[in-house]
C-alpha cells in the first residue's frame, strides 16, 4: 500500500502498523506499549490523517492505503 510519510510517498507491505513505520524510520525496536525496547525515551509523536495516535495505540493501529502520517520530534527552537 502507498502512504504519505512526512510529506513523501512510501510503499509499505500489507499489515503495516504505526509501530512498523516508527520503528523503521527511527531504527529503534519498540515494545507493544510504544516505548523503545532499549529503555531510552523515543521522543516522537505520530499523527495519522491529522489525528494524534497515542503511543499505546501504535501497535494496534493498522495503516491503510492513502494514509497521511506525520512523525515529529523535538528540535531546537524557541
Amino acid at each position: 500500500m502507498n502512504i504519505k510519510l512526512n510529506g513523501a510517498q512510501h510503499t509499505l507491505g500489507e499489515g503495516a502498523s504505526v509501530t512498523t513505520v516508527v520503528s523503521h524510520i527511527t531504527g529503534r525496536a519498540l515494545d507493544a506499549n510504544g516505548q523503545a525496547s532499549d529503555g531510552l525515551k523515543i521522543g516522537v509523536a505520530v499523527a495519522r490523517n491529522s489525528e494524534v495516535v497515542p503511543r499505546s495505540q501504535w501497535a494496534a493501529t493498522a495503516l491503510a492505503e492513502g494514509d497521511e502520517l506525520e512523525i515529529v520530534t523535538a528540535v531546537q527552537g524557541g
Binding site: 509523536a45 520530534t73 531546537q76 527552537g77
Partner: protein, 268 residues
C-alpha cells in the same frame, strides 16, 4: 567578604515555583539558533537553566544526536513550544503531539500573526489558550506586552503569562517597561519576560520590574561566545531578582547628598 560568585549564584535567590514544580534558576532558555548540539549543551549548562523550550518538527533520520536526550542527560526540564503556528487549530494539534512525544502537559503557546513581525495574534492566542486549558494543558502563554490581554489569559487558566520585551530575535530589550510593570502588578500567576532580550542588563531589568523569570534563546545561542553569555545571564537574573527584593531607592528630581553637611571642617 570573599564569597565566590559561583557559590552565591546557586544559593541566594528564592526559588521559582510553576505548577507546583520548584526551580532554583529563574532563567528559562530556548534552544533555537545554536550551530551545534555540543555548543548548545555547554551554553545551557553555563546559564544554569533548569527549563528549556524546544520546537516540534518532522522527524528526520539524518539528524545526528537527540536534543531531547541532551536535555534529559543534563537534567533540564523540557518546555515544548508551538513555534510556527499561525492558528489556534495548528497550535492545539502541535501541543497534542508535543504532549505525546515529550510526555509533558506543559506547553509554551506561541500563535503568531505573520512571519514579518512574529508578534502574537491575540485573537488566536485567546482561542488556543481556552482550548488547551480545556484539554488539560498547562499553558505558558507567549503574549504581547498588553496588560489587558495578559489578565485575560490568566483568567482563562494560563499557568504563566509571558509578555514580550520586544519582537522575537530583535535584541531590542524591553521596549515598554511600564506595561511590563503593570502586567506584573496585576498578575497572580508567574510572569516570564519572553523575547527581545539582547544582553545581560535587559534580563536584569526584567527581574527588577518584578518578572518572575526571563526566557531567552538567541541572546545566548547567537552571541559570539555563547557559554560566556550564558554565564552572564545567570548572574544578571540573580542580580535583578535581588535588586527587586531589596527595594530600590525612589527616583528624585534633584540631587540628594549622602554625606552630612554638619561637622564639616572650616578652612580660611
Amino acid at each position: 567578604m570573599t564569597t565566590t560568585s559561583t557559590q552565591s549564584a546557586g544559593t541566594v535567590i528564592d526559588s521559582l515555583v510553576i505548577d507546583g514544580v520548584e526551580f532554583s534558576s529563574r532563567l528559562i532558555t530556548g534552544t533555537g539558533g545554536a550551530p551545534s548540539l555540543d555548543g548548545l549543551g555547554a551554553a545551557l549548562l553555563a546559564s544554569g537553566t533548569e527549563l528549556t523550550t524546544v520546537a516540534l518538527r518532522r522527524y528526520s533520520p539524518s539528524e545526528t544526536g537527540s536534543l531531547f536526550q541532551l536535555l534529559v542527560d543534563h537534567g533540564i526540564r523540557v518546555l515544548p513550544n508551538t513555534a510556527g503556528c499561525f492558528t489556534a487549530k495548528d497550535a492545539v494539534m502541535t501541543a497534542e503531539l508535543a504532549r505525546e512525544a515529550l510526555e509533558t502537559d506543559w506547553v509554551k503557546l506561541e500563535v503568531i500573526a505573520d512571519e514579518h513581525t512574529l508578534l502574537p495574534d491575540a485573537v488566536e492566542l485567546v482561542d488556543a489558550t481556552e482550548k488547551l486549558v480545556d484539554r488539560g494543558f498547562k499553558v505558558f502563554a507567549y503574549t504581547n506586552d498588553d496588560p489587558v490581554l495578559a489578565l485575560r489569559l490568566e483568567n482563562l487558566g494560563a499557568t504563566a503569562v509571558m509578555p514580550l520585551g520586544a519582537p522575537i530575535g530583535t535584541g531590542l530589550g524591553i521596549l515598554n517597561p511600564h506595561n511590563i510593570e503593570l502586567i506584573v502588578s496585576r498578575a497572580s500567576v508567574p510572569v516570564v519576560l519572553d523575547a527581545g532580550i539582547g544582553t545581560a542588563s535587559d534580563a536584569a531589568l526584567a527581574m527588577e520590574l518584578g518578572c518572575d523569570a526571563v526566557l531567552l534563546a538567541t541572546a545566548v545561542t547567537r552571541a559570539q561566545n555563547p557559554v560566556q553569555m550564558g554565564e552572564a545571564f545567570k548572574h544578571a537574573v540573580i542580580a535583578g531578582r535581588l535588586a527587586r527584593q531589596a527595594g530600590r531607592i525612589p527616583r528624585r528630581e534633584h540631587a540628594l547628598a549622602s554625606s552630612a553637611m554638619e561637622g564639616r571642617a572650616e578652612f580660611l
